[in-house]
Symmetry: C2
Amino acid sequence: MMPSKAVRFRARQVATLATIYHQCLVDAEYGALLEDLGQETLDPWIGASVREAKRERDKAVRVPATLVHEIARTASLAYEAWVQARQESDFETFAPWLRKMTDLKRQEAACLTDDARLPYDALIDIYEPGMTTAQLDPLFEELRPRLAGLLERIMASPRQPKSEVIRGTFPTDQQETFGRMVITAMGFDWEAGRLDRSPHPFCSGLTPFDVRITTRYSEEDFSIAFFGMVHEAGHGLYEQGLDPDRFGLHACEAISLGIHESQSRLWEIFVARSGAFWDHWFEKLRQQFPGQFNTTLHDFLHAVNQVKAGPIRVDADEVTYGLHVILRYEIEKALMEETLEVEDLEQVWNSKMASYLQVTPAHASEGVLQDVHWSHGLIGYFPTYLLGTLYAAQLFRKALDEIGSLQEEIASGHLLSLREWLRQKVHQPGRTRTAEQLIREVTGANLNSEHFLDHLEDKYGRLYAL
Amino acid sequence: MMPSKAVRFRARQVATLATIYHQCLVDAEYGALLEDLGQETLDPWIGASVREAKRERDKAVRVPATLVHEIARTASLAYEAWVQARQESDFETFAPWLRKMTDLKRQEAACLTDDARLPYDALIDIYEPGMTTAQLDPLFEELRPRLAGLLERIMASPRQPKSEVIRGTFPTDQQETFGRMVITAMGFDWEAGRLDRSPHPFCSGLTPFDVRITTRYSEEDFSIAFFGMVHEAGHGLYEQGLDPDRFGLHACEAISLGIHESQSRLWEIFVARSGAFWDHWFEKLRQQFPGQFNTTLHDFLHAVNQVKAGPIRVDADEVTYGLHVILRYEIEKALMEETLEVEDLEQVWNSKMASYLQVTPAHASEGVLQDVHWSHGLIGYFPTYLLGTLYAAQLFRKALDEIGSLQEEIASGHLLSLREWLRQKVHQPGRTRTAEQLIREVTGANLNSEHFLDHLEDKYGRLYAL
């Protein structure tokens, strides 16, 4: 919403607030008060809040202000270099900045961890508290060949979708109307949130009472805005579902990026891309766009679930998406452990793309330069995208078990008992549980890839007649 | 833009920031640093900034935090009582809260001034620094009979406007399109501002780079949104016109509410309600609304400048508006000087309405309960509305003198040299001048009502053939 010229001054205001906040965090008296609190027996909300407050303060105290400042300064210059490099599709323009950034992030990791052998773990922990390479390595090593194998079988199938059946002309206002109908059915509270438009879709949960989601529209392809809206609304329901009476406590926040992503992916993949969902909504969609979608429900469903290996992560389907993430995970880990040099990065990227996805990027801007994350210093963030899907698969499987009629409800357009289940099981507990505890408590099992792989085999086995 | 449920938590956030800000203001070290600065010879911007910073700090130090808190607490309860009282049109519901609020505001005034005989001056000074009842009393006492006399002559004129010629059906989107055309011609910078919709029109100047204006639309009457937009855009141009390189200094702010209002009123009254303006825009307006405004330019102009005494201030025309303000000024002054008791307020209000405007409010909600200001503790604020018009008349007269071709430019749709003149003379100096200095420096005369009365006599003499 902000006018373009406002950006610079807003950045100064945000920086001022961030500085004041950091000063409060590292304040010695605050630290002493937190230590005192730790000695007392506390209720679970207060106990978890003290734990989270200490965790936050500990990270702030461990990293010297000079390093924080240097990373922020480098990020803003690296971002400019990345924009230019991507425009010119020239990795060499960005490489020196990436080298500097990985160096700074290794320094940051060294501050954050007591175990110098595991720098990448220290960074992952920022976004997914408690998650480690020891857990992720076997998980991703199992997933990689399974996803690549499924992709090969899908590509070899004679039964390919007719992608043209979902193409047409879709006025944005009608797309928005349809999207709002679905989001309303999901139980999004419009008195505590908004839907707007922006170049990059996002969800900002300012408070449980003020959740802003955005999407972008293509007039030729309704699916971009639609699945984007459902995805962001999934994030939004998590924010709106935090306990309103406890909001303000450290424990009354989303647990982690991975758990957050599980809420968006659950609605996007396991609900909105499912056959049951479109049993109800396909006719509604056709009514919204008269003259479009002259096809069967089956062909429509196959078209919105087309699997196609491509070079771009954000355009990837649910089979190939994980491979994009695993590739980045392996590269980040190697960069942090200094077993990969930035000068070899583009070549390693391309060879992994060929091996996992049978894709060769035409140029660096659709290869190693496609994501903004590294320029901002966001290393350790990518794995949470795939973790979200794995968590989502486990949670949805459990929801099906516990709500006996869930598939029938979805097939008749009733989505509120799923939202209620998620609210009670995932949203309301906030950070009184860690991600690991929550998943075990709710699903009865540790994080695993079994349910996600079952889902893929079942769904794509049927769609592609494998 | 904020969803309704977000209001409460946002209020807590704003209160937290206000508390932190107040703590910074009253901090002794900050005070000592300001005192040191005062000893040095400084450039005009720094000198004025130190003066304004001291003024701000002085007010913060003089009023005890307990009183500030009590006023804020009372305001929120008094506002609720006012809402209920207005709904039920029952002054008695609000009277105890107004009594408490006037009592608290007298205490605040006693803290702010060294002259206990002039409590109202201390409150006016909050909104219009340097302005006093000694200046306002003779000004308003001269204006009151002149405005009332003109109103009588207008009401007695046989030549009354045909108000129906501006009625019709005006889709809001087209109203917005037309309004944006005019605001663009005024030189509003859309890269540093927005126009949105809200129940009450406003202008928020967050920075010179981010100015938000709003309006509300009536589908039956285009003039409500249109003149509202021009009014708010006038405020917006002032904010956008502050020196961008000096923004952040105390001196780089709007001078006072009265000077701010002069910028909105200048564009609204002296430009957008003038014959010269519609020489250009009338045809454009008819093109925007095909089939509407089947009338002559003269009849259109008379209809948008209809003078009609009514009970409601915000609906008042430029002749009667001043009388509404003077009535409130006299009442506020008497309340603060304890020559009027709250229990007599409704009766005094009604008798003044009858005497100045020949109007009898049908009930309290269109009389003494119509404005929100007193419930918020905004006493001393009303006079700035009329001051704005007087300043505007003086400034516009001077602009006509200095830009020889201004009327011709306005008549051909060119508004930018007026904006440029205002930017140089009024906006850019910020607070390096007081209101009094600025008006004298720019117009060569002290604040007076001569130009405003000349304008009214000339304009309405012609429209109503007086």
